[in-house]
């Protein structure tokens, strides 16, 4: 199906309102089915943003009808679409919903499929080891079943990709072969994209293992599948696979011409642009065009940067305006008036805040397996602010805003963050953009809490002596929240070993903070933080010198988060 055959905004809206209207049961089922089919098509042509509200409406509808089969499918659709829009936390949430339904129905196939989807979502953040565990669980669930099982096919294919990313080629090939064995023509028909990806993985793995002859066979397969499919995603994936094989077999000029063509097409389908550009960069590099490779790298980072910001904004918009899009003028005015009234009303977190929190968790999952980095920094910032004598509610706001400090990490290619090595100059420059990206994502909303989050996101890497980035601000010109967050962020990163450096004990990290007092951090904040951590850990009977401070540190943060009726 080509781009033109798809319905525009209008019919999608119509379908959504149809889903919301009361309908007799069998009619409703039909509408849900067609909505889900449409979602699939929209996903295939990279229009997840339009499809997500539709899928959500379908999910709500099938919940009402309590029809387990449709709930499963709708939740899975919601999850895939959210993941495609970079909202990993929501995606995992939807898949877990599906998983629950699967458990209630005792349907191992569906459960396995949900685990597979969760793994896929985690894979998007570059958290391959965790994704691999999900895929293994998915495989374990269907292990007793015989014959070709779709989720076994999908999960082992995905697992192969994880192994490739983790550098374990032999395991990867084994898994991919298993997936291939599992694939039936029906599966291939049903999901040509997955089939292409599987063959692509085999090509990549075999190239990595130096088996070009085997790789070539899979390239031929890929081309055959591609010829039968019209989806732009599939065709771009086919061309990228061919190009990467040509690259490996030394025909870089052919690869470059092909990639130039692909690039032109990929610009039409934004979600494929990233893979394409990455492949182009590799090609240019191996052809020796360093300058052009750098140019493309810049384009890639710009692309990811802009895409991430755009997506974050979309989420905020989706969270804020749940009603039909395309508001009439009157409704706009209504919303503006509501905003004005809300300025006079007591303050509360804006509606979009939950969406932002989810995005922030997804963003830090690239560096921190658990995704709790933001929450920990939030709790530490709040405690530090209180200890500094900030009025309680302001401290609460600082804590909540500090949770979002690394939201800009969404705009950094996950490959850079997942690597534990130290970064080169170009990569460092890219990582440093996360401060601006975060501020950019939070720019729209003029709610005071979001504004504070924006300040923190922008300035949490500013140094006390003015040597930080992005802007050269120093001393008390750095907003209070950002100064507080800087101390908490650095401490958490040191204790949990985020980034290229190894984890330190809690005492070592405190010493390191002391060393930065007056140059990197506000000296007053460092001494206050030092006292805070020491007294709290003494209360908990912890040993700051203990080898692995991780668990103690987690408990410390939990104690700080605990609600004892104080603020």
């Amino acid at each position: 199906m080509s781009q033109e055959d798809l319905p525009g905004e209008g019919p999608v809206q119509a379908l959504i309102s149809q889903l919301r209207a009361p309908l007799p049961a069998e009619g409703a089922n039909q509408v849900v089915d067609s909505a889900l089919a449409l979602c699939r098509q929209l996903y295939g042509s990279a229009r997840s943003r339009d499809a997500l509200p539709l899928a959500q409406a379908a999910l709500a509808r099938s919940r009402e009808a309590s029809d387990p089969n449709r709930i499963l499918r709708a939740a899975a659709a919601c999850g895939m679409l959210s993941a495609d829009m970079a909202d990993i936390v929501a995606a995992v949430g939807y898949h877990v919903q599906a998983l629950r339904v699967g458990m209630r129905e005792e349907n191992r196939g569906e459960m396995s499929r949900s685990w597979n989807n969760i793994g896929n979502a985690l894979g998007i953040t570059g958290n391959y080891s965790m994704a691999a565990r999900c895929f293994q669980r998915s495989l374990a669930l269907v292990a007793p079943m015989s014959g070709p099982v779709y989720s076994r096919f999908a999960a082992s294919g995905n697992l192969a990709d994880c192994f490739f990313q983790l550098g374990n080629t032999s395991e990867g090939i084994a898994q991919a072969e298993r997936a291939l064995h599992e694939m039936t023509p029906a599966f291939r028909e049903h999901d040509p994209y997955a089939a292409v990806l599987l063959h692509r993985n085999l090509v990549r793995l075999n190239v990595a293992a130096g088996r070009l002859d085997l790789a070539e066979r899979h390239v031929a397969e890929v081309v055959a599948i591609g010829a039968a499919s019209a989806s732009p995603r599939v065709r771009i994936a086919v061309d990228i696979t061919r190009a990467s094989f040509e690259l490996a077999s030394g025909r870089s000029d052919v690869a470059l011409t092909r990639l130039d063509q692909v690039l032109a097409r990929a610009r039409e389908v934004p979600s494929t642009l990233r893979d394409t550009l990455a492949c182009v960069i590799r090609a240019e590099e191996s052809a020796g065009n360093t300058a052009r490779a750098l140019m493309r790298l810049e384009e890639l980072s710009d692309h990811i940067y802009n895409l991430a910001i755009e997506r974050a904004r979309e989420h905020v918009e989706l969270a804020g305006v749940r009603e039909e899009a395309g508001l009439a003028m009157g409704q706009r005015n209504e919303i503006d008036r509501a905003r004005l009234v809300s300025k006079l009303e007591p303050r509360s977190a804006p509606e979009s805040f939950k969406a932002l929190q989810r995005l922030a968790v997804g963003a830090v999952m690239r560096m921190d397996e658990t995704g709790w980095h933001g929450r920990r920094v939030g709790a530490l910032s709040k405690a530090l602010a209180l200890a500094l004598g900030t009025p309680p509610l302001q401290a609460v706001e600082i804590g909540m805003a500090a949770e979002l400090h690394d939201i800009g990490m969404l705009s950094i290619p996950e490959g850079i963050l997942a690597s534990k090595r130290s970064l080169n100059a170009a990569e460092t420059a890219i990582v440093q953009r996360h401060a601006d990206a975060g501020a950019e994502m939070l720019r729209d909303d003029d709610h005071p809490m979001v504004f504070m989050a924006q300040e923190i996101a922008r300035y949490h890497h500013a140094h006390w002596d003015g040597q930080g980035y992005p802007a050269r601000v120093a001393g008390r010109f750095i907003p209070l929240g950002a100064r507080i967050c800087a101390v908490a962020d650095a401490y958490d990163a040191m204790v949990c070993g985020i980034g290229s450096e190894p984890a330190r004990t809690m005492a070592e990290a405190l010493e390191e903070l002391q060393r930065g007092a007056g140059t990197q951090f506000d000296p007053e904040h460092v001494s206050c933080f030092d006292a805070l951590v020491r007294s709290e850990s003494e209360d908990l009977g912890m040993d700051l010198q203990a080898g692995s401070g991780m668990e103690d540190f987690q408990e410390l943060v939990l104690t700080l988060k605990e609600d004892r009726g104080f603020v």
């Binding site: 509360s348 805040f353 405690a383 209360d539 912890m542 004892r564 104080f566």
Partner: protein, 311 residues
């Protein structure tokens, strides 16, 4: 303090005796067997040093009368100082004097409520139960309602509270100690500090608070009450501990008739409540909720500003 021996149960027994109830009626009212009740009554006679029912009633009525007399006498003796808040706090109690402002002090107060809303935490049943319990304890502490603390402790709530809300148990321990129930107070305090060694329970500052409170009320040490007041003035992360110390110091000074210092403590409490209220207002809250009844008066334009505009 002899009154401290009369706990809530004995108080009720005396009240029933005073309206002329027989021991059978009292037993029925309080849910005991008649025989048990007789034993309890005799224990009570022995405790207050009387021989029979009649004498007990006389003792009770005298005591009631003398309490009111004492109050009137004291307020007559006490010179008015112009410190309106301090005077009233000494005459009535902190709870009555703070009035609705007490909402801005103590655990789970108004500020906590707003913070909860800001963070988007939904209030569940367990939380609101915990909140209600802590607020009642705080109220008793402000009021100086020692019997309430004992009643809670006797209903074996002591164990339950210290299990799931150590900070509330600290308030209870302080309430017991201040009321002269030293045995119960000490037992609860040591329970809590033991738990601390196991890594979960009260913080260092809370432990210090309990220690200082015991010194101030039990040892009747002049220095101890002052130490409590000083502790309240220290920079501390949890405002609640500070406030609890302040209230305890107030009661300690009041008991020792050091009126000037008791007034200081009372005024410090007022300042705490007032600053919390101002903070809420600065954050755009209506501190006491409800609708804004009337518009704020238009800002007065100072002469300088008007002149500057004219130029």
């Amino acid at each position: 303090m002899k009154d401290a021996m009369i706990d809530a149960k004995n108080q009720r027994m005396l009240e029933l005796l005073a309206v002329g109830s027989t021991s059978r009626v009292i037993a029925k009212q309080m849910g005991y067997q008649e025989g048990t009740m007789r034993v309890y009554l005799h224990n009570l006679y022995r405790r207050i040093g009387v021989a029979n029912k009649t004498e007990a009633v006389v003792w009770y009525l005298n005591r009631e009368k003398s309490r009111d007399d004492l109050k009137a006498e004291k307020s007559a003796q006490r010179p008015t100082t112009g410190d309106v808040f301090g005077d009233m706090a000494l005459e009535e109690d902190l709870f009555a004097t703070l009035g609705v402002m007490s909402q801005f002090t103590g655990p789970y107060g108004r500020v906590w409520e707003v913070a909860q809303r800001l963070e988007g935490t939904a209030m569940d049943e367990k939380m609101s139960e915990r909140r209600g319990r802590a607020r009642l304890l705080w109220r008793a502490l402000l009021k100086g309602d020692w019997a309430y603390g004992k009643r809670i402790y006797d209903a074996d709530m002591g164990g339950a509270i210290s299990l799931d809300a150590p900070s509330d148990a600290v308030l209870l321990a302080a309430l017991l100690v201040a009321g002269g129930f030293s045995l119960a107070g000490d037992r609860l305090a040591s329970q809590l500090t033991d738990k601390r060694k196991a890594g979960r329970g009260v913080t260092t500052r809370e432990a210090t608070l309990m220690r200082l409170a015991r010194d101030a009320f039990q040892a009747q040490d002049a220095q101890a009450a002052a130490a409590l007041q000083k502790f309240a003035g220290e920079k501390s992360s949890a405002a609640v501990i500070k406030q609890a110390a302040m209230v305890l110091a107030f009661h300690a000074f009041k008991a020792r008739s050091e009126d000037a210092r008791a007034r200081q403590c009372a005024n410090a409490m007022w300042a705490e409540a007032e600053s919390a209220r101002k903070h809420l207002e600065a954050m755009g809250e209506r501190p006491l909720g409800g609708e804004a009844a009337f518009a704020a008066p238009a800002k007065a334009v100072t002469r300088e500003k008007a002149m500057a505009g004219a130029r």
